[in-house]
């Protein structure tokens, strides 16, 4: 599971098992990939250092340097708390809440492919990387189907979901023996199995996702809110839809490490649903959903650590608890907000010359 191999896959190159097939160009790409990967491993080291320092300062048992995996789990959790609701906001408001579930199940097929290849031809690649690749292909497929049939349709989503899971279980049962042991970790997530490699993969995904959303949030918002008007204003709607589903695939795989395949979609949906109840503006709802998600993740990880329960389950339970509170708060808010009705002005035909007059000078 070397950084070089991981780097090559991240850079979009097929992993070549036979070294004689490696092209000179690929060596260069490998080097870049390795450098980037090394950089994120270095970031991880700094994170360990910071949390150790925090442990000595506060004495919180969860941060004890003896449990380095907890440090990584917290880092992964924090990243998930940002990127899942960030993407989830765009999905939920397009009635695509279930696409996360569909992609998670195909990501499971990707994990199975990775485990299978590792067992059969000793590829030595992280199953999370194959999961990213397979989930992104599935995401594109769902999107293309919807473009051809003019609608996202429950049926095609359900078919992709079950195909993914069926493929996964089949591949895993194919080489039963050693494999079944590792499957639980992917199905239900596990704090203790967050390895430095998978944490670094997550950091890469995090940077890609947050960066893309930062640069394209206007277009994503426009497409989400009003697809036709967005198309008229010259936004290539189909491309932004493809970007959205590909980012979703990345989030799902990233979050799978501690959430597990079955519960990962909850992080895309539940905090966003909660934020929708209490926020007025879109930017507010983005911020609130991230705050709610972080709250759920950190509380969930803490409960999981001290009570010894599965992190994924408890995180979702906490998130749902927060959602219920948000619904109640939203009801109170709207009950109080309805008292004041501002005065609606009239449409002023005369004032248009101000806006249209800027061509004169």
């Amino acid at each position: 599971m070397s950084g070089a191999v991981a780097g090559a896959v991240l850079a979009g190159w097929p992993v070549v098992a036979d070294p004689s097939m490696v092209l000179p160009l690929q060596v260069g790409v490998d080097a870049v990939g390795e450098f980037v990967f090394g950089l994120f491993l270095w970031v991880l080291e700094q994170w360990h250092w910071a949390l150790e320092w925090a442990y000595h300062f506060t004495g919180i048992e969860m941060l004890n340097p003896d449990y380095r995996y907890m440090h990584r789990a917290i880092l992964v959790g924090l990243c998930i708390g940002v990127m899942a609701p960030l993407i989830g906001t765009f999905l939920v408001h397009r009635q695509l809440a279930l696409i996360g579930d569909a992609l998670a199940h195909t990501a499971f097929a990707g994990v199975a492919v990775g485990l299978f290849l590792n067992a059969v031809i000793d590829l030595g690649v992280s199953p999370y990387l194959t999961a990213v690749v397979v989930a992104m292909i599935a995401a594109l497929l769902i999107e293309l189907i919807s473009e051809v049939t003019d609608a996202y349709n429950d049926v095609s989503m359900a078919i992709v979901l079950s195909t993914g899971f069926a493929l996964g279980t089949t591949l895993i049962s194919l080489n039963a023996g050693g494999l079944a042991v590792g499957v639980n970790q992917y199905l239900f997530g596990n704090l203790a199995t967050v390895s430095p490699t998978s944490a670094a993969i997550l950091l890469v995904l995090f940077v890609v996702i947050v960066g893309t959303v930062t640069l394209t949030r206007n277009q994503l918002l426009y497409v989400t809110f009003d697809e036709t008007a967005a198309a008229v204003s010259g936004i290539p709607v189909n491309w932004y839809n493809r970007i959205t589903v590909m980012l979703t695939a990345m989030v799902v795989v990233g979050a799978m490490q501690i959430m597990g395949v079955i519960l990962v979609a909850a992080m895309l949906v539940v905090p966003v649903a909660g934020a929708t109840q209490v926020s007025r503006s879109f930017s507010e709802s983005l911020v609130v959903s991230v705050v709610l998600a972080e709250l759920a993740v950190l509380l969930g990880i803490a409960v999981s650590f001290y009570a010894g329960v599965t992190a994924g389950g408890i995180i979702v339970l906490v998130a749902v608890g927060i959602y219920v509170c948000a619904v109640a708060l939203g009801k109170v808010q709207s009950a109080r907000g309805e008292q004041a009705t501002p005065h609606m002005g009239s449409i002023e035909a005369d004032s248009v010359d101000v806006s249209a007059g800027n061509g004169d000078d």
Partner: protein, 311 residues
């Protein structure tokens, strides 16, 4: 000469606006919308058949027709959202489907399409009208002129170049500038929605919501406004004010294409009427339309009822 060229490039947008601001029959004016022999069907049955239609700059055209007559489809063909099965659709002298100069078009729909339950404020909706202006077009094209200018007056050119840096940064990060926000506020003011700017759009009535969408089209400062039954659900008083607003915008030189079911409004406001029922039944000045029998032919029995009601 070099300065002249760069001037022309930098003021290209305002130049087109001034051109549209003057009379519609300016010599260089290409038709804004140009459909010739357009046929389209979602299935093998065509929804519009052999429609030819040209809209010039500064015109105020209303497209009328009974339900299911292909008005909305025709509009989508005009805007390049659909590709004709036969014939050509051109927008600002470019293929409509490939047209991507979105800031030249403002669009107001019957608002079934927008995700209304989303948490979003009126101001955020209107801001969307400015997104199409956040492009790198015309910002920092490095050409021979720039190099020449660098040689002649290095300091000034560099200073001018640095002046465009905020615009470039805004375009990349999608941040609206202060002048963009001022235009947004102005558009809100124009439709009388300033007091509602920070209201969530779900809390508004249908008419108020429609005003917000009209404000978005205004904020886009488009050369062409396309409206698909924009006053559905708007209270009667606001409807009149809204048509006055459209008239005023048209007087400023903005081309208006209005798809409308309310024949009374069309007769009162539009300069030219296109009567459609799968094919064009009438295309001409509003006065001639009122006198013609196109209405009865296109609408069939339904129109007789309508005209009787209108008196």
């Amino acid at each position: 000469m070099s300065t002249q060229d760069s001037d022309a490039a930098s003021t290209a947008e305002s130049a087109t606006r001034t051109a549209t601001g003057s009379d519609a029959d300016t010599p260089t004016a290409e038709p804004v919308v140009d459909l010739s022999g357009v046929t389209f069907g979602y299935t093998s049955t065509p929804v519009v058949t052999d429609v030819s239609l040209a809209v010039d700059q500064g015109e105020y055209v209303a497209i009328v027709g009974p339900n299911g007559s292909g008005k909305s489809t025709l509009m989508q063909l005009m805007l390049g959202l659909l590709e004709p099965d036969a014939g050509t659709a051109r927008l600002f002298d470019e293929s409509a489907v490939r047209f991507d100069d979105g800031e030249r078009i403002g669009y107001v729909a019957q608002h079934a399409s927008a995700a209304k339950e989303m948490p979003i404020t009126v101001r955020e909706v209107v801001k969307m009208g400015r997104f199409a202006h956040l492009t790198l077009d015309g910002v920092g094209d490095l050409n021979r002129d720039t190099i020449g200018a660098l040689r002649e007056a290095p300091l000034e050119t560099v200073r001018a170049g640095l002046g465009t840096v905020p615009a470039i940064v805004n375009a990349i990060f999608g941040r609206l500038s202060r002048s963009d926000l001022a235009i947004v506020d102005e558009a809100l003011e124009t439709v009388g929605m300033s007091a509602f700017a920070d209201r969530r759009i779900t809390q508004l009535s249908g008419g108020q919501r429609q005003r917000a969408f009209i404000a978005r089209a205004l904020a886009s400062e488009a050369d062409l406004l396309v409206l698909d039954e924009p006053t559905v659900g708007v209270d009667a008083e606001s409807v009149d004010a809204f048509y006055d607003l459209l008239g005023a915008l048209n007087d400023e030189g903005i081309t208006v294409v209005l798809i409308e079911h309310d024949l009374g409004a069309v007769v009162d406001h539009a300069d030219r009427v296109v009567c459609l029922n799968r094919e064009v039944y009438f295309d001409g000045p509003t006065e001639a339309f009122v006198e013609s029998d196109a209405l009865a032919r296109a609408f069939g029995t339904e129109a007789r009822v309508l005209t009787e009601v209108d008196g």
